[in-house]
Symmetry: C2
Subunit: 144 residues, 2 copies
DNA sequence: AAAATATCTTGACAAAGTCTAAAATAGGAC
DNA sequence: GTCCTATTTTAGACTTTGTCAAGATATTTT
């Protein structure tokens, strides 16, 4: 399993153990619980929301460990943070470039595939060296 | 003076008094100090940063008053909030649509005029009703 | 000037996040 | 297995951002 495929296949404990080892992270039960939760959700949770969910599996885990583990996963490039919710950083297991849509009624955050939108005119911004960018859209998700 | 011109002309106390009155806000010394600071900065400050600066002019102002006044100005449409900095809401006196560039070295936030960038493909997002959007770019501002 | 409103301040509180010291655990050497 | 060391985890203290309520000040209204 390669890093680029994470986030969809992580339903076996073995996978997360392997993944942690590949990143040079000791696979403790706490870290396994965190990585299995975060790589299997599309919900862009905050650290405290992750804590709440991870405790269902691993009731004794401390807040500091969840924060430490999530930050470690960010440092290793397995997840990334997004600044799109008021008051808290959210964690995003989709490490490929993509955009975001935020439902202002529910607070839900949806990924928009990179190739669905095109941003034109960036080369005109002569004063800025762009390292990354994304479009952030807000509104309502339509009911089916 | 109309609301659409605010943010550039606000160097006379009279202007801010007029503006507050136009919005049905009683122009107290505290509120004048807050509005004069916030409408004359391009720096996208947090509420606590605003407090710090406003206290230079009005040393006795309380934190609650700065928060209340800023939120009041948001409600009246004179400034708006942006979620682009980690850990805190920032206030933006540019109420016209625009994009943002964030210098990752300094944390400085720069406005990018609306017409400099074009986002194509929004109509393909059938599941979403878009109320607003912006492009957020990160990188380094080039030295002159 | 007294009463009624509106505003401001202080301090308490909650949530998000970091840090530290001590306890628990794991891994390696023997 | 036992001992030793390095790594992890935990609990709690602390900071920052933000809100709220109660009392103190100001401002209007009459």
């Amino acid at each position: 399993m390669t890093k680029s495929k994470i986030g969809l296949y992580l339903n076996k404990v073995n996978d997360s153990v392997t993944l942690l080892r590949e990143c040079g992270i000791q696979p403790t039960p706490q870290r396994i619980a965190v990585i299995e939760f975060i790589l299997n959700t599309r919900s862009h949770p905050s650290a405290d929301q992750a804590l709440e969910q991870v405790r269902l599996q691993c009731p004794t885990i401390s807040r500091a460990t969840v924060y430490n583990t999530l930050n470690l996963l960010v440092k290793k490039g397995l997840v990334r943070t997004q600044i799109i919710r008021e008051g808290t950083v959210v964690f995003d297991c989709n490490i490929n470039q993509h955009h975001h849509f935020i439902d202002e009624e529910t607070g839900n955050i949806y990924d928009i595939p990179w190739d669905q939108l095109e941003v034109k005119g960036k080369d005109r911004l002569k004063d800025f060296e762009i390292v990354e960018f994304q479009v952030i859209l807000r509104g309502r998700r339509k009911k089916k």
